[in-house]
Amino acid sequence: MMPLDLSASKTAAEPTRHRVDGSAATVAADARVFEAAYDQAWLPVFRFALAWTNDWAAAEDLAQEAFLRLWNRRDTVDWSEPVLPWLLVTTRRSATDRFRRLRRSLTFGVPVATAPDSDARLEWLDLRAGFGRLSPLERSALVLTVVEDLDAAAAGEILGIEANAVRSAASRGRQKLRGER
């Protein structure tokens, strides 16, 4: 897999826009530019959410949440700028919110639905327990630096921590995966 390119802009199909007029043509253009970003960034956003939560269905929800936020802000987004870093930071922030709310919803007996199974999801279930020994930060630091091949500083920007803390978390995560702790 290629290193994650945080500086990648959207596929240059549309010029930068700062306002919309609500016409049918504008709405269609909105959808096109959004879909380009969606195609490009969905997987890294999902994988980051999965790293943070270690929960496939929650990660799908979080990825959807991030893109919904992006869509809702489309009128004021500068699409010539990369959106992936914003999506990842938003995902991290939402994950915290989500678990706060999830905890509350469990308290009041609201059922938490599960996503349909897929081959990848079933295979991932084998890995879940092993990765479950890591904290969200350790998993995320490992995935961003090892799987997505970001440097520690870039991963730290997403995780909201210093580069050294990323290295430390990734290192602890490795130790746990090896079964040393």
Binding site: L43, Q64, W86, A113, P116, E157
Partner: protein
Amino acid sequence: MKPGRDDVTRDDALLRRWDGVTARAARPPSSDLLARSRLATSGRGQFVAAAAALLVIAVGTAGVGVWISFRNGPIAGGSASPSSTPSAASALPSATEPPIASEAPTATPNPLALVLVALRQYEYVVEVHRIGAGGWVLTSERLMLSDGTSWRQCLDRPMPGPGTSGPWTPNTAAVVDVATIRVFAAADMLLSTDACATWSDVSLPIAPTGVSFGTMQIGFIAAAVGSNNLSAGIYRTADGGAHWVAMPTVKSVTRMPLANLRLAFADADHGWLTDGQTLWSTSNGARSWNATHLPVPISVSGSFDSVQVPVVGPAAEATVVAKYDRAPGMDGVSGQLVFYRTADMGAHWTAPAVVADPGMLMTAVVNSTTWVVADPETGSSVRATTDGGKTWHTTAVSQRWPFRASSMSFADPTHGWLIVDEPEPPCPQPSVGFRICDYAFVPPQHLVATDDGGATWHTVLP
């Protein structure tokens, strides 16, 4: 992931497998997402419509002239408009979309301006303090102050929009003391010593979850640190926050990771630290800590569940509330709340009141003798004591708050604020395709107030 090394260790193998498996995750069609987006915005619209309806009533009461002068009249210097009423401010329709910041938020000078404040779409309330007729509200993005007649925005750190750089962190705590205001966000302390006019940014050694100042200059911060968060890292400042010195760490008693550490200091030396499970106390300015043993009344039937952070008062007093039930660790279980009091900085504790808790009973500790409790679910009554639990006065709620209450703060038994949360939107499973929930929409919150002990409630922040 970087390709091949010969000495593949177990961790590398697992990570490669994780990489391969997750790369095959199926992406739901974007059309589903956009369709859902249109549905999801409707819930908020209903409340805005309700707020607009209130606006008509409020304008009718307060007068159109008052409304217009309030709306158009940012007043330099921050003095409140005496003609505006809380009910007029309460009825404002909210902004439906938050602004997109053009750059990463920084602690920039923020002139005092009388503004009409509504919670933004993704903004959530961190802390509320009712003080007299007004008080302050710390949200994830802002600190807002009220004198009871109007609001001003003291600090605004909006969540940056796409295309901007730099991480954004929500506000996590605030210490508001007349003109000196401190807001904590991740490992930063934003400090204003001129009542919100200008701000400076102080880097902290940790990202605290607990903050308390025993005096104007001597303060403490705490956060979980160490391997698996099994220790509480505590730092002390003696110069108002400019410099911080590490104090001895406190180890988890239960051997469980510490989370959400909170601090409460009564003065420079005496304070408490809790993670909700253990209550530690210090009498020497955090140089050493001891686990506090509270005298559980014999009328308590359940096991210890959790303890709140103490509320300290003058004259060596403090009050702390602990919950006991039959399912420790689980929220929403019926049990009992015990109010503990000390009048000698924690040397001795008494348990003057035990209150039945149907599950999520809210408490507001005003001082060592005045406490208010209310059930967020039923909302049928508000109970208050002013004599440390000897007698309780029940106020029947005649005009209930909207939605579901999540936290409350009272200045006295009469004047209180309540945060209410709109319900979660439904999350159905379609027959084909992915379930697309409305998790994008943090349930909008609102601030409601009572000025009659809980009998009636009106919206303050839509």
